[in-house]
Symmetry: none
Subunit: 222 residues, 4 copies
Amino acid sequence: MPSGSHVRPAREKMRKPRGRSTEKRQRIINAAVKVFAEKGFYNAKVSEIARESGVANGTIYLYFANKDDILISLFEQEMKRIIGRMKAEIELEPDPLRQIEKFALMHLSLIEEHKELAEVLQVELRQSSKFMKEYRNRKFAEYVNLISAIIRHGQAVGVVRADIMPGIAKRAFFGALDEMSRFWVLTRRKKYSIQTAARQIAEFFVHGIASLPPGQVAAPPR
Amino acid sequence: MPSGSHVRPAREKMRKPRGRSTEKRQRIINAAVKVFAEKGFYNAKVSEIARESGVANGTIYLYFANKDDILISLFEQEMKRIIGRMKAEIELEPDPLRQIEKFALMHLSLIEEHKELAEVLQVELRQSSKFMKEYRNRKFAEYVNLISAIIRHGQAVGVVRADIMPGIAKRAFFGALDEMSRFWVLTRRKKYSIQTAARQIAEFFVHGIASLPPGQVAAPPR
Amino acid sequence: MPSGSHVRPAREKMRKPRGRSTEKRQRIINAAVKVFAEKGFYNAKVSEIARESGVANGTIYLYFANKDDILISLFEQEMKRIIGRMKAEIELEPDPLRQIEKFALMHLSLIEEHKELAEVLQVELRQSSKFMKEYRNRKFAEYVNLISAIIRHGQAVGVVRADIMPGIAKRAFFGALDEMSRFWVLTRRKKYSIQTAARQIAEFFVHGIASLPPGQVAAPPR
Amino acid sequence: MPSGSHVRPAREKMRKPRGRSTEKRQRIINAAVKVFAEKGFYNAKVSEIARESGVANGTIYLYFANKDDILISLFEQEMKRIIGRMKAEIELEPDPLRQIEKFALMHLSLIEEHKELAEVLQVELRQSSKFMKEYRNRKFAEYVNLISAIIRHGQAVGVVRADIMPGIAKRAFFGALDEMSRFWVLTRRKKYSIQTAARQIAEFFVHGIASLPPGQVAAPPR
DNA sequence: GATGAATGAGTCTTCATTCAT
DNA sequence: GATGAATGAAGACTCATTCAT
């Protein structure tokens, strides 16, 4: 796991607080996002998160089992929120190919709106700890599978080519968006808007997987 | 991050060895790839790299200024090698759209052949040090720009749509491959070959950017 | 030097503890005096100071920025105390020539009473760091200037020859005492008491600078 | 002893070189004086002395048993030279009180002429290692005893008061000169010449110990 | 629940010294 | 004799975590 020690600290040790303490817990998570984004997980000090959230060092350990747990909890909570929003938005749109575009727009918008969180999700979670990697996979899978669900649905209704492998396509599409996000997070000046980027990426992809000739899909009457 | 400050570590301190020492330097780099891949940069101990490469702890510091420098040097050296190979391969193929496919195949093959190195390049270099991030960008840019060069060439000869923005397209394509690589590196059992993955991804992408109707390009007479 | 660079170590890093912690800080200083005296600054280990003061290694860094800072703080604090005592004692004695004798007696008595501290002040602070040297000068200056103040006063009231240069005389006198201290600290068996030494040195010096024939001053009716 | 290790390396290991190698040995000593003066003994690196003297690291160990031995040898050799010169000069002057003045002038002149050496002798040799301290004492004793010899001679011929204790007086005088030297070595701008300083110090001292009324001695017909 | 002073395990790096050439 | 690449012991310092208050 990330933190240097060799023994995974007992997770059960952590008391599960409730009530108004939830607010303090959130303050710590927010601070952690900020500090992790700025310094990176390994160079972030727990004491800095404490200072940033206005609590004492020890208090953090009332809400989280250890430093790793802060990252994991943060990830879990924010991903749940994101997945929820994404699902809701997508369901509003019946056309699978339009859903793809929606996904791209939403994804990049979320990045744009929550730069620090994006940076943490992008960068810090890609650490090598086997534990982290596997953990990330499970949670990310849920998110990325939103894409393959769309694709399968598209195949069912005939707008996506049957020979497309959803498992590959989902990764390709997510990867394209993800790389764009990274660029977006790390670069100051850009030559185009995030909407343009989202639309172009969606367009490539839709062209790439659609059953119909591209013209009919890629240039929607907008 | 690699090291706490934003200042480039004093590299001059390092004696520049030559002659047969190059072999020792390489042994250290190889060991570092292995150890970083297994433990992650932050959890890797210099002493472990030393043991793995069969030299004394101190010897490492005859070849590298510090732990960071091992990672940076490793990155620099291996990327140079990869970029070189990639360029050479691509030049053998005149057709831009075929070059795209070639790129995908090569990229994933390299990943497959050098799993540990791939893991380090994939995961460890994405850590947060501002320095690292920028550094990575500069070097990665060179690699990713191989893609935009192909696209521009494709536009020049008319096989790629003129409205495609190469800056976006290169990232989308690289991101797709990169995400697939990550999956490839981190997952044990896969349902398809890396060639299949490469071909599908290239196909999506080529479909997405090509001027011609997909059929003529996406199903090459193979 | 204390530590390699010429830059003052980041002192802000250190939390400023108060309350009962002052007692712990003092314990560390006392332990440091003992350990530095025994081993010398460079051969003293921080962990030994920690053991000697009954705190954990890390605790030392709650009170001092680094090893250097222990020495500096120790010096600063103890010199302040010594200068205060010396000033107070001297003011009780109106006659400048008697003040000289008093100074000698006090100086050597302090050495005798605080051998370990004396050794640290004598020996360890004379190490070569430019920083240390300059630092030492500033603080020592205050102490040595007590002597030149006496001399100037003596010149003003006519008991010290006007052609005496206080800047030279103060150093000569201090140097004489200092060398005697060194001898005192380093040697086991001595042939005379420290009072005898102090009186003889004061006598030489008073003879050397007094306006009056030596007999009247050097053999006070004691 | 100074260097960190705990075991005194066997001194016999060192081959005693002769012939033209003496010149190389001297080059190393000269370089050591320079480097020790600049960095201090503990912060001086053997490799730097090697570089400065234009030999390989290992070569130093053909001439000296270890780092300590460089300092000791340097000290021994230079002190021998100084003591020799001092003796010769003093013997030219028959009057003991004039010898005192001569000593002061010579001492400070030597300091002035060999600043770096003086700094090493002044500062670096005052380190706490018991070994060093004792060593220094033996060698310094010889030097400082030149002073007590003069005093005893002066007492024998009646120009120095019989109640003066040579053991105290020698230290007082040496200490006075030594402190002045330190000041001289460490300070950039001075308000008086080293000759003035030497003469004043000698004058104080001669006044202080002489049997005759000061006027006759302190103002020699010069 | 909250605090923050205290803890001490853990690791990078330095550099005197060696020894194969 | 001379070299300088290699060694590896040693120690200052950090910081996640604990626990007495």
